[in-house]
Amino acid sequence: MGKAKQIDRRWIFLLIFIGVALPLIFTIGLPLETTKNVQMVYDMVESMPKGSKALISFDYDPASMPELHPMAKALLKHCFDKDINLIFTAMWPMGVQMAEDIMAQLQDDYPDLKYGEDYVNLGFKAGGMVTIQSMGKNFREIFPKDMNGNDIDELPIMDGINNFNNIGFIFSLSAGAPGIKEWVQIAHDAYGRPTSGGCTGVSAPAMLPYVNEQQQLTGLLAGLKAAAEYEILIKTPGTAISGMDAQSIAHLIIIIFIAIGNINYWRNKKAEKKGGK
């Protein structure tokens, strides 16, 4: 293919930039449908009785915030609305700060939440799969204290929580390993607890096979689209929904350029054949 016939890739970058920026400023409101995997997560949370406890693992860092923060926020809102008490942990060091940041954002919406009663942040522990396995045997061995140094025996939310037995469900917000895969392997496959997760778009194809007949994962929130769907389900529009217009426009631009590239390719091939003859 002759170089002169190729589009300078910087035009594509510029178009994508504009295509993403404009819908963020001028909202279009493109329709969005709820998919089965997202509905499964929503139904699982809905089915939890009032006062039950869930373990949320923040297994990501700031690099994945644009995708995972909106879904974390939506999930936590749903849980607090249902009076589910939340135990936060992190298999990634920066996950602790991610949980703290979400709670700071939710402070205005839920001013009555009490630390140690409605939620607790146990902090980060290195070890991945081995740590999760030990949590399944004895929570206190891995987390004798929370992230603030409080003895977990003194926190009302931890009453009766010795292992995964009294945990309603486990949810991993994951950007890689350790993350959803490790939680599935231990929490669900070894201890039989309902397990679900939210992941980045890149890791979604590797996680989707766990949403199967065996219910290794009870639904999956994959990428920004799933976060937007969850915001729709809990009727609280957030940054994910506003980002989906931009996402759709960007995809449209990519599709158009793929089509242009292919048409160009076939035209050149045809021209080469003619020239050859």
Partner: protein, 213 residues
């Protein structure tokens, strides 16, 4: 003072965002500076984090507080020091022992877990009656799942030449693989655009205040 540092943080974020984005036009000094600062900061952060959040709470504190109950932690500590011998060419061979312990332990721990979760449970999930489904869409989905799994596995069977029925199945398998790669690429494109959306939400919201952050 807090407000000052918040504003400074936003402006630094903006400058570094533009410095990184400038690479899309062409390689330049601003990009290189931003890249090197990022690498240096990351290395420094992780060095400090490892000492204060891994070594001190998991090794130093237990040993100094109750040595008799925790002396066993000396074994991984010694293995860790042996691993560092890799930096000294003359005694580099010492590092092979802790590496072999790590590989052996990891294989042992992971083997059972992966066998159950990624082989047995996945196989069981595929062994379904395809005709039990609430709608024809689910039934077709079930059939696709079974055909795709079998044909995909056949494609990776190299002990017999892919001709006849085996060849046809392998061909179907490769189509399923291609579609799955396409879907994976779609998810990757979505993830990358999401990151751009995140940056633009920061620029338009936190910095310029045009949109609600």
């Amino acid at each position: 003072m807090e407000q000052f540092f918040t504003t400074l943080g936003i402006w630094l974020g903006v400058l570094f965002t533009f410095a990184i984005f400038s690479f899309l036009y062409k390689d330049n000094h601003f990009y290189k500076i931003a890249e090197q600062i990022f690498v240096g900061l990351s290395a420094g952060y992780w060095f400090v984090y490892t000492i204060f959040f891994i070594l001190i709470p998991n090794l130093y504190d237990p040993l100094t507080q109750d040595f008799n109950a925790n002396w066993i932690k000396l074994i991984p500590a010694i293995l860790g020091i042996m691993m560092l011998m890799r930096l000294i060419p003359k005694i580099e061979w010492v590092s092979r022992y802790p590496i072999s312990v790590v590989i052996g332990t990891t294989s042992g721990v992971f083997f059972l877990r992966y066998l159950k979760s990624d082989v047995l449970n996945q196989l069981t999930a595929t062994m379904i009656n395809p005709f039990i489904g609430e709608s024809w869409v689910i039934i077709i989905g079930n059939l696709m799942l079974i055909i795709g799994t079998i044909c995909g596995v056949i494609y990776f069977y190299f002990s017999k030449k892919h001709t006849g029925a085996l060849g046809v199945s392998a061909k179907i398998g490769i189509y399923f693989l291609m579609i799955s790669f396409g879907a994976a690429f779609g998810y990757t494109a979505m993830a990358r655009i999401s990151l751009l959306i995140g940056r633009l939400q920061f620029l338009l919201g936190d910095w310029l205040g045009i949109i609600q952050p």
